[in-house]
Amino acid sequence: MGNLLLTRLISAALVVVGVVCLVFFLIHLVPGDPVEVMLGESARPADREALRTALGLNQPLAAQLMHYFSGLLRLDLGESLHSQRPIIDILAERLPATLELAALSLLLAVALALPLGILAALHKDRGWDVGAMSFSLLGVSIPNFWMGPMLILLFSLWLGWTPVSGRDAAGSFILPTITLGTALAAILARMVRSSLLEVLSEDYIRTARAKGLSMGAVVWQHALPNAWLPVVTLLGLQLGALLGGAVITETVFSWPGIGSLLVESIQKRDYPVVQACVLVISLIYVLVNTLTDLVYAWIDPRIRLGADQ
């Protein structure tokens, strides 16, 4: 387990360095002169020069990269061009909303996917299965930028049950959570079903049934613990889709998180903030995936014990 931990941490660190480099180069993809694009053509030359110096764009590329890295180590992400505030403060304001939305959506997805997947596997090719898999297919096919407005139309505008947008009113989290959680629930339900079906066809399940255990006991005690592993891996990987989807969902519902900050900053051409948003979301994703890998190893004794040999 110790070796595994070390290997995973080293590889995660390498990925983080790569991610930072890629995010750093984002600003160099701005067509033409980034300073002119950010300030507009009418900006005074002195202002342009000031921004160029502030962003370090007049230094050699390697020096810029070093400067970016050293800033990161001091948690200094620079200042927003628009509000002149330190970016780290803006992120700190926005991050809780995104984490809240992601956590609630994850919870909803698991709460929906587990029963659906289990029922579908136990009733393969019958009513429950067809129903659950139709839900799953529909869930991955509905884009959240359409589902969001449709939910707003139905529940906020027509029925008046929930707030239209924002985060302040009571119950404002309901529609964004449903919008973001459904697609993940759909994918997870599929995975739970196929993973459980595979386990249910094993010999030890037949043995457990043969010795007189009820189907419920077989599923809970013998099948599910073995069906977890692929589901946990998928959950970690799909969290990326969840964080990516949060960008659009937050924009639809004016949810004040990092995703909507990213879109606002793109519109304002506040590229340092764009860089920071992409960086923070990706770092969270890398962190969660590394943790998932370790949890996976911890759940599975074959990996946990095998790594030390």
Binding site: L14, V15, V140, S141, L157, I187, L239, G240, L262, I266
Partner: protein, 269 residues
């Protein structure tokens, strides 16, 4: 039987995209007396906030999503398959390097990198295709690499090497045909995610620019009039849903038919 309906929807999508410009459509004709008209005779899907025909714009949007899907699948599969197959075939440091690069690209959640790239490079169909290809090649590279790794020690490859066959010929003639099935399925599901991603970028204002139409930008513009003219949001949304559903059903069908198990997971962007 189960394949006819999705195949029909996809055929319609392709035909609208390919032959849309030949039809007598006026997607950009502003008709102020008919602003926000509901569906009716003559204007089957109603009119938008400038009185433009929603049906005509839907056909034009099909062209946008089809162009982007075709472009991204071609570019990203070509780059991904070449990189993955080459790295796995050569092995050693090259392979190690590719794995690291893939890891770094996979560290960006789904559409996030595409949004950032499209946002920084500026709006337009070209940039959408570039942004989605930068994100999309990784899946093909990973798959092609895994396939070549499992195939390169097969007897027929050893025999080809013994006969003095060139490396390029071995990869193209003796390895690629065996890898085709999982790659075709990856590409099929890829189309579904690209259609959603393109519409998503256009929804955020990062895709095609007005007056060009995209299903995503139609939804964005329609949300402002949702209460009085829900058809503005319903029509493009149902169009996306139908195409994506059809592609996913086709992918499932192909997976069963080609008997590829767990080769790819659907991505939700």
């Amino acid at each position: 039987m189960r394949i006819y309906l999705p195949a029909g929807i996809l055929l319609l999508w392709c035909l609208m995209a390919l032959f849309g410009p030949l039809l007598p459509l006026e997607p950009n004709r502003i008709d102020l007396p008919h602003i926000l008209n509901g569906p009716g005779v003559g204007q089957w899907l109603g009119a938008d906030d400038l009185g433009r025909s929603v049906l005509d714009r839907l056909v034009m949007g099909a062209r946008t999503s089809f162009t982007v899907a075709l472009g991204v699948v071609c570019i990203s599969s070509l780059i991904g398959i070449l990189a993955g197959a080459f790295a796995a075939y050569v092995g050693g440091m090259v392979d190690l390097l590719l794995v690291r690069v893939i890891d770094i690209f996979l560290a960006f959640p789904g559409i996030l990198l595409a949004i950032a790239l499209a946002g920084v490079m500026g709006p337009g169909v070209d940039n959408v295709i570039i942004a989605l290809s930068v994100v999309g090649w990784v899946g093909y590279a990973r798959l092609a690499r895994a396939q070549v790794l499992s195939l390169k020690y097969r007897d027929h490859v050893t025999a080809a090497i013994a006969l003095g066959t060139g490396h390029l010929r071995i990869v193209v003639r003796h390895l690629l045909p065996l890898m085709a099935a999982p790659l075709i399925i990856e590409a099929t599901f890829g189309v579904a995610s690209i259609v959603i991603a393109e519409a998503g970028l256009s929804f955020l204002g990062l895709g095609v620019q007005p007056p060009e139409a995209s299903w995503g930008s139609m939804i964005r513009d329609g949300t402002r009039y949702m209460l009085v003219a829900p058809h503005l949001v319903l029509a493009p949304g149902i169009a996306i849903l139908l195409v994506v559903l059809a592609v996913n059903l086709l992918g499932d069908y192909l997976r069963d038919w080609l008997d590829v198990r767990g080769a790819t997971e659907q991505k939700s962007w």
